[in-house]
Structures are given as structure tokens and as C-alpha cells.
């Protein structure tokens, strides 16, 4: 999923959220820890600086995986051949299961960042998606429990052995500008999303299953219609896909499949989104780049109208925590500088505290297996054995991270307790090193681990890993920090020998999103050029496997092979975060995946 830059927030502008990588930096954690060593005054300077650095970013829940989720329970008449495994439990927190009647009116104010795009078909990141899902919508949507629910389609039927979906639209649907929504709009929108001129980076991922869509994407603009999209009548739309894929419906919840008003898009040019007509519960009333964004209730919304009159998003930054304390915003994430304070029950703010579910992500140190010494499996294994993650988690991060011994995060479909990666063992590490081609430090190639950023100091985890490698194995590395644009370019060209400061966040709840995308030998997301024929075979098999249990087994087998090969050094899984929300804000849901949520929020002072 989109890379949500963790800290370094001053340095990494929101545009970088557009990448799928997640840039990780544990600087916040490091600073809390630092207080034990430095004098209180110096610490105070750091803390206020930190507060400033975290200003103006979306709240923690916006850093969660973007839409596309499959559901624990699919609605009636959902697909029979269920390929995608389901989420384990419902990881959603709702701010105060409300008491009393919801009231209309009121303004909800929060900090946000400039979205890289508001065009649903171009959305790849959470900053954009968080706004887009409130303004636009599609056939189906995710509710707060991450179940797929009817949105503009009131019902659908599946036939043809799970390959033909026939949707019936609700009656009298309208865009926010009052224009009617028809199946023709859906046909045009889906084809527009795929058209090369739209330049959507994700059309293939989310719509590629529909017959004919790939021809449009691969065409030079000359192909404009897909045979898999048929308009039966004004309210009936038929989509035909290339195989019985149960997760297809889930993909339709992603903004790439949202409906747009053709006239609105074509008359607006490149900046059509400034006056966008959507079908979501809100419409964009005002947007000033770097300043603020205002959403207003869409009176033409098909269902229950939103309670809020307006949602105001401040885009100009500011010290989020202080703004919250001064009632200037209604919600804020809690940086590590304030963690102890807000958890103190005698503190006023403690009453507003909410636990934010962890996102599905893993951070790691990557190895390029084409580059010596990482071309030697034993050497990579030795490096894995030499890192004591428990100690780092406990002493460096005060238990705030969960050590990763696998690739797939806990709670995520396909996660298995059985999977066991490499645990800390100095003896084995030394033996492995001795068996490798690079046992002799004299002839061992220089090792450089590259991390992104401009701040100077690398994350403490990379530093500790460096020390552990040096102490336990005598392997010395250099840490090189390069700025994000350069880092990305080198990463995409597999020019980095080893890299840190990165994580991977789920796009949609399917193990394919981790195992296939990151480790299949031909995958563009496999930056370390890892290749294992057995893994490739398992992954290929899993793609078309119809049996859910068997499919998960295939991914588990592949994951174990990858861990045994020590393709990466997996570091941490995400843990839950903290947020504050004002007592007068009701029904705000924190979800690990972005869903439309502001419609349900109401203010009662």
C-alpha cells in the first residue's frame, strides 16, 4: 500500500505518500528514549522541535492502508468461490459508541495534508483516498467493519461460474451537481480509468480483471471500450471478469472503480476536481493548496445525508497537539513526546484518548541478492541470526514495536503462527558466516546500507543493527543517507546494495499483496532481485488456486522459503497508536483501512 511516511515529516512532503513504499523512521521513539540520557532542558528543546516536525500531517488513522478490503462476511448473493482469505477479527475502533440521538449540523475540524490528487482514478495514497472516499463513491463500498456493502448498486447477482457480475443501481441516483447517475456513467468511468491518457498507476491492479480493460491500458489510446463492461439498461450494468475471483468485489471498493460525471470531468480540464461532481456524502466546497480544504454536505446523496454541515481540513500545518489542546482541531494523533502525558489518568487529555488499531505493515532491511556479499545465502542468514530484535524492541523502543519474524503482519489474511523466521543466535550466526564465501573480512566487499532522508541521523534501529553485526560477526557496514527522490530512483533501478528505513503496507487484505508483489522474481516490487524457483512456482500456483485453505498454504510455504533464504531482515510489525478526539465528536471510526466514515460523525456539544 501507499507509503505513509512515518516521522521525518518536515522532510518528506505529502507527495511522497504517493509511493507505495512506507518510509519508516523511529526517530520519535528514539527521542522519547533519549530523555533518559540528556538533561531535561535539552530534551525539552528536542520535544518541542519534534512537535513542530510532526505538525500538519494527517492523523494516524489516515496513515492506514487505503481501501480495498475483502470482508469478513460478504453480503447476500456474494460470490461463491471464495478465493480471498478473510480478515482475522474486526480491527476497528469507534470513538464512543454513541449515546443519544445524532444531531444535524456542526463542523468537524482536523489537520490534513495536500492530497497528491483528488481524481479517484489516480488515487494511490492514503492522504488522497481519505478525502476522495468522502466525495466520490462506486458500486460497492466498505463499511466501518470492513464489510463490503451496497453503495450505488442496490443489489447484484453473480453467474457464469463466478465470472459475470450484474449490478442493479439504486433509483434516482444523482451526482452532487444534480445530474442523474446512469450505468452509462459507470461504463464511461471504468473505461476512462483504464485509458492511457488518464495515466492511472493502479488501473491494472484494480480493474485489470475485467475483460478488455487490459487492452485499453496497453493500447495507445486507440482502444476505448472493454467487452467486459456491458450496459444492459439504465439501471443494470454487467461486468465480466477473466476468472472466478472472489476478491473482485473488494477491488471495486477502491476509488479506481468510482463513478464520475463525464460532462463534469471533460469540461474541467486538468483541474476538474476543483469543481468535482461526486456521489459521496460530501462535496468539495473549497480547496486552497497549502491552506485549507472544506467539504460540505451533499444534499443529493442517495442515502441518509451526512450529519455534519462541513468538514474543515487545515492544510497549513501547525503544532497539532497544541492546536488540539486549544480546541482548534477536533482530532489529533499523539506523538511519542506526549505519550506518557496523555496516558496519565489524572491528565485532562486522558479522557479523550483513543487507541488506533495497528496498520498492516512490516518494516525491514532489504538485501540486493545480485550484489556481493548478499549473493551468498549463508552470509544473509548469518546477518539475520546476529540481530537480537527482542532486545532492540525492549530497550531501544520501550516495547512499542513488535519484532517481525515473518513477512505477513499478524491479523492479516494469510498470517500464520506456524511461520518461523530466523531468531537471534550468535553461535549459529558465526557458523553461517564461516560457511559463507565472505568469511574473510579482508576480501569481503564493502557493505553500504542506504536509508532515505535528509536529517543526518539514521533511525536508531539501523544503527543498533550495525553495532550488532559488528559485535557478533565482525561485519562492518556503512550507513548512507540519501534524499528521497534519489533513494527512490536507485531503489527502482535495483542500484542499492542494501537498504533500510522502509516498510511495506497492505493495499488489500490478501497475502498476494506481500508475497507475490515483494518476492516473485519478475515483480517490479522485488527491489532486491530475489529469485527462488520454488517460491515462483508456489506464487504462480496460488494466483489461480480456488481453494482458500490451500491457497493460504501455498503462500505460507512460500513465505517460509523466503525467510529461510533470508531475502530480507524483517524488523517490525506495526503496533497500535494513540489519538485524541474531542468528547463532542461522536461516531468517528478508526479503521486500519480507509473507509468512508465522516457521514456518520456528528457533533454534540
Amino acid at each position: 500500500m501507499p507509503p505513509a511516511p512515518a516521522a521525518w515529516r518536515v522532510q518528506i512532503p505529502p507527495v511522497f505518500v504517493a509511493a507505495k513504499l512506507k518510509q519508516i523512521d523511529h526517530r520519535e521513539i528514539r527521542i522519547t528514549k533519549m530523555r533518559k540520557y540528556v538533561t531535561p532542558i535539552i530534551a525539552a528543546i528536542f520535544l518541542v522541535a519534534l512537535a513542530a516536525c510532526t505538525a500538519g500531517q494527517p492523523e494516524p488513522d489516515t496513515q492506514k492502508p487505503a481501501p480495498i478490503a475483502t470482508a469478513t462476511a460478504l453480503p447476500t448473493r456474494a460470490a461463491k468461490p471464495e478465493i480471498a482469505p478473510s480478515l482475522q477479527g474486526t480491527p476497528t475502533t469507534v470513538a464512543e459508541a454513541q449515546s443519544g440521538e445524532a444531531t444535524m449540523g456542526g463542523v468537524f475540524t482536523r489537520n490534513w495534508a495536500d492530497p497528491p490528487t483528488l481524481d479517484p482514478h489516480l488515487v494511490t495514497d492514503t492522504t488522497s483516498a481519505g478525502v476522495v472516499v468522502e466525495i466520490f463513491s462506486g458500486l460497492v463500498s466498505l463499511n466501518q467493519d470492513l464489510e463490503i456493502v451496497p453503495e450505488l448498486a442496490e443489489s447484484w447477482s453473480i453467474s457464469g461460474g463466478g465470472t459475470v457480475y450484474e449490478f442493479t443501481l439504486r433509483k434516482d441516483l444523482k451526482f452532487s451537481n444534480g445530474e442523474p447517475v446512469t450505468t452509462e456513467d459507470f461504463r464511461w468511468s471504468l473505461e476512462r480509468a483504464a485509458h492511457p491518457d488518464t495515466e492511472s498507476p493502479v488501473a491494472e491492479i484494480y480493474l485489470g480483471d475485467i475483460l478488455g480493460i487490459n487492452e485499453i491500458i496497453k493500447g495507445r489510446g486507440d482502444v476505448t471500450s472493454a467487452e467486459g463492461i456491458e450496459v444492459i439498461d439504465e439501471r443494470t450494468l454487467r461486468l465480466t471478469i477473466d476468472g472466478p475471483k472472489a476478491y473482485f468485489l473488494a477491488k471495486l471498493t477502491y476509488p479506481t472503480a468510482y463513478v464520475l460525471d463525464r460532462e463534469n470531468v471533460e469540461s474541467g480540464g486538468d483541474t476538474w476536481t476543483d469543481n468535482a461532481a461526486g456521489t459521496g456524502p460530501f462535496f468539495l466546497e473549497e480547496y486552497r493548496i497549502g491552506q485549507r480544504m472544506v467539504l460540505a454536505r451533499n444534499e443529493n446523496y442517495w442515502g441518509r445525508k451526512a450529519y455534519l454541515d462541513n468538514v474543515v481540513m487545515n492544510l497549513a500545518g501547525g503544532v497539532s497537539m497544541s492546536m488540539y489542546e486549544n480546541d482548534e482541531i477536533d482530532i489529533t494523533g499523539v506523538g511519542l513526546a506526549d505519550v506518557n502525558r496523555v496516558q496519565d489518568p489524572s491528565e485532562e487529555l486522558n479522557k479523550d484518548l483513543i487507541r488506533v488499531p495497528p496498520q498492516f505493515s512490516v518494516s525491514y532491511i532489504g538485501f540486493n541478492v545480485n550484489e556481493p556479499p548478499f549473493d551468498d545465502r549463508n552470509f544473509r542468514r548469518a546477518l539475520n541470526f546476529a540481530v537480537d530484535k527482542e532486545t532492540i524492541a525492549e530497550h531501544v523502543y520501550s516495547g512499542l514495536v513488535r519484532p517481525a519474524y515473518g513477512i505477513i503482519p499478524p491479523g492479516f489474511p494469510g498470517f500464520s503462527e506456524e511461520i518461523d523466521g530466523i531468531h537471534f543466535n550468535v553461535e549459529t550466526a558465526k557458523n553461517m558466516l564461516a560457511e559463507s564465501k565472505y568469511a574473510d573480512p579482508e576480501t569481503r566487499p564493502r557493505i553500504t546500507v542506504t536509508i532515505p532522508g535528509t536529517g543526518g541521523l539514521p533511525g536508531r534501529d539501523v544503527q543498533v543493527v550495525k553495532d550488532m553485526w559488528s559485535e557478533h560477526l565482525g561485519v562492518e557496514i556503512e550507513i548512507q543517507q540519501v534524499e528521497w527522490a534519489t533513494y527512490l530512483q536507485d531503489l527502482n533501478r535495483s542500484r542499492l546494495q542494501a537498504w533500510g528505513g522502509l516498510g511495506w503496507e497492505a493495499d488489500y487484505p490478501d497475502p498476494q499483496d506481500f508475497i507475490d508483489i515483494l518476492f516473485y522474481s519478475e515483480s517490479p516490487g522485488n527491489h532486491g532481485a530475489y529469485g527462488n524457483d520454488d517460491v515462483d512456482r508456489l506464487v504462480e500456483q496460488a494466483r489461480t488456486e480456488q481453494d482458500v485453505i490451500r491457497r493460504v498454504q501455498l503462500y505460507n510455504e512460500a513465505e517460509q522459503l523466503i525467510l529461510d533464504d533470508a531475502a530480507w531482515l524483517p524488523m517490525w510489525f506495526d503496533t497500535e497508536g494513540l489519538a485524541l478526539i474531542k468528547p463532542w465528536v461522536h461516531n468517528y471510526a478508526f479503521t486500519p483501512i480507509i473507509t468512508p466514515k465522516l457521514k456518520n460523525v456528528y457533533i454534540q456539544k
Partner: protein, 309 residues
């Protein structure tokens, strides 16, 4: 002097041409690629190639540079690569004005506090007041904005609740107070030291002794003779603030949530948004040239012995 000014101004385009050329070289041959920043990990070579084609990034260097120059001459600085469909001028215009207002407010604070304090310190030379003020100025100068900003917020906004934590309403809005103090604080220190030195200089002049011996009242001596003469070098320093007028104060802007140019400038560098980078570089160069020119002219006004050639 008029011809001198004109000649200097005529050189400006040449200077800008040279600067733009070098910035363009850095952008074209430096590491990083705006297309990859935009695509991130959804990077596929085909799509990247398509985007580069459409944005004209595949053209040879001189074709790109020529196109930039041609458009710039027509007043078109191009479209942002990051914010699709936004032309650079409308994107940076309002942010520049915001930053300029913030800088003016900061300069007023710096000048308004610094000059009287410096003058006072000089007049009290030899007492404890003078070294205390000078030392205080040094301490203030050493305080970084990322300390003073949040500190001011904690005291005046969160603690005393006199002003809001963040927000911006322009130069005449009360929310400008804290940011202005924060940006102006280091300037106070500069002006205190400058004004003190220049006042001491003037105080030692013979015409001051003459004025005193004529029996003029202390007030008249202080303000008509000492302060006015001591201010002259300060005015030239003020000229430099013109050069920095449109520069963003990144950290102040971030801390107080001010929609100025600082953050956009930083982001445009990180995302390789060349049109925005070019526009800001050229603007910076232009204001520097003009500020220098103004300072030179002011010098001749202050001291006619300086001849412009």
C-alpha cells in the same frame, strides 16, 4: 545615478539567464526524477516513459531549456509537475504574498524593538544596562526558531489563551503576533548590536560635542543629532530584508500553520518539481539584484561622497 540604475537593471536578465541555465543543468543531470517520485512504487517503466513524454522530460536538454525560456518570456513559468494542471504563478503567488507579510511583520518587530534597545544600550554605556542588553541580544540570537516558536505557543496560546495556536489572517490580523515575534526575535538581536555600535560611533563625533556645547537640550541632541545619524547605516541593512522578503520562513510557517512559500519550496525540491524550483530561484535572484541596487542607491543618498560608476 539614473543611468547607473538602468544599467544595473539591464544586467538583471543576463544574470537570470545564467542562473536559470545552471539550475536547469542541475535539475536535468542531478539525481532523482519527478516521474518516479510521483509514481513511487506503482512505478512501471511504460507508464513512467509515458509520463516523461507528456511532461517533455525526454526532450534533449536544449529543447527543454529553450521551451522554458520561450514560455518564461511570455510570462508563463509552466505547470507544476506535482500539482497537476496548476500553473506555477497561481500556485506560488498567494504563498509568496503570505510569506512577504510574515517577513514584514517580523521586520517591524526586529526594527521596532532592536533599534530603541540598541540606542538605549549605547546611551547607558558604562552601566550594567549596556552589557546586560548586549548579552541578552546574544542569547536571543542563539535561540532557534524551533524552540522559540513552540515555547511562545505554550505560553501565550495554550497557557494564557491570548491568541490561537495556529492560523493566518494576514498582516493586520491578531494571529500574526506570535509568528511575527518568532521570526523577528533574532532580528532584534541584530538591530540591537548594530544600533548600539553606530550610536556609539556617532556619540564620539565632534558635532555632537558641538551640539551639546551650544546648550541644546538633551532630547534634541539625542533625537535630532544622535539617533538620526546613527540610523543611517541601519537603513541600508533594512534594504537587505527586501531581498529576503519573498523567502519563506520554513520552520515558523510549519509551527504556526501559515500557508507561506517555505513548505512549498522545500517540497518542490524533494519532489523535483522543476517549474516551481525554477520560478522560485529566479524570483530569489531577481529580488537579490534589486535589493543590492536599492542599497547602492541609498548609500549615495546617505553619503554623497560615494560615487556610483
Amino acid at each position: 545615478m539614473l543611468t547607473y540604475g538602468l544599467r544595473r537593471l539591464l544586467w538583471t536578465p543576463v544574470l537570470l539567464l545564467i542562473i536559470s541555465f545552471f539550475v536547469f543543468i542541475l535539475g536535468t543531470y542531478g539525481p532523482g526524477d519527478p516521474v518516479e517520485v510521483r509514481l513511487g512504487n506503482n512505478y512501471t517503466p511504460e507508464l513512467a516513459e509515458r509520463l516523461r513524454d507528456r511532461l517533455g522530460l525526454n526532450d534533449p536538454f536544449f529543447v527543454q531549456y529553450g521551451r522554458f525560456l520561450g514560455n518564461a518570456l511570455r510570462g508563463d513559468l509552466g505547470e507544476s509537475l506535482t500539482f497537476r494542471g496548476r500553473d506555477v504563478i497561481t500556485l506560488i503567488g498567494p504563498k509568496l504574498l503570505t510569506s512577504a507579510q510574515l517577513n514584514i511583520a517580523g521586520s517591524i518587530v526586529a526594527f521596532g524593538f532592536g533599534v530603541p534597545l540598541g540606542f538605549y544600550a549605547a546611551k547607558r554605556q558604562g552601566t550594567w544596562i549596556d552589557p546586560t542588553l548586549v548579552l541578552g541580544a546574544l542569547v536571543i540570537f542563539a535561540l532557534p526558531v524551533f524552540f522559540t516558536g513552540p515555547f511562545a505557543i505554550l505560553i501565550f496560546a495554550v497557557g494564557l489563551d491570548w491568541v490561537p495556536v495556529s492560523g493566518w489572517g494576514g498582516l493586520f490580523d491578531y494571529r500574526v503576533i506570535l509568528p511575527a515575534l518568532t521570526t523577528g526575535l533574532p532580528g532584534i538581536a541584530v538591530f540591537v548590536r548594530l544600533m548600539r555600535a553606530s550610536t556609539l560611533d556617532v556619540l564620539g563625533q565632534e558635532y555632537i560635542q558641538t551640539a551639546r556645547s551650544k546648550g541644546l537640550r538633551a532630547l534634541v541632541v539625542n533625537y535630532r543629532h544622535v539617533a538620526r545619524n546613527a540610523l543611517l547605516p541601519i537603513v541600508t541593512v533594512l534594504g537587505f530584508t527586501i531581498a529576503g522578503l519573498f523567502g519563506g520562513s520554513l520552520i515558523t510557517e510549519l509551527i504556526f500553520g501559515i500557508p507561506g512559500i517555505g513548505r512549498l519550496a522545500l517540497e518542490s525540491v524533494f519532489s523535483r518539481d522543476y517549474p516551481v524550483i525554477m520560478a522560485l530561484t529566479l524570483l530569489g535572484a531577481t529580488s537579490l539584484v534589486i535589493a543590492n541596487l536599492i542599497i547602492d542607491i541609498i548609500y549615495t543618498v546617505i553619503d554623497p561622497r560615494i560615487r556610483l560608476q
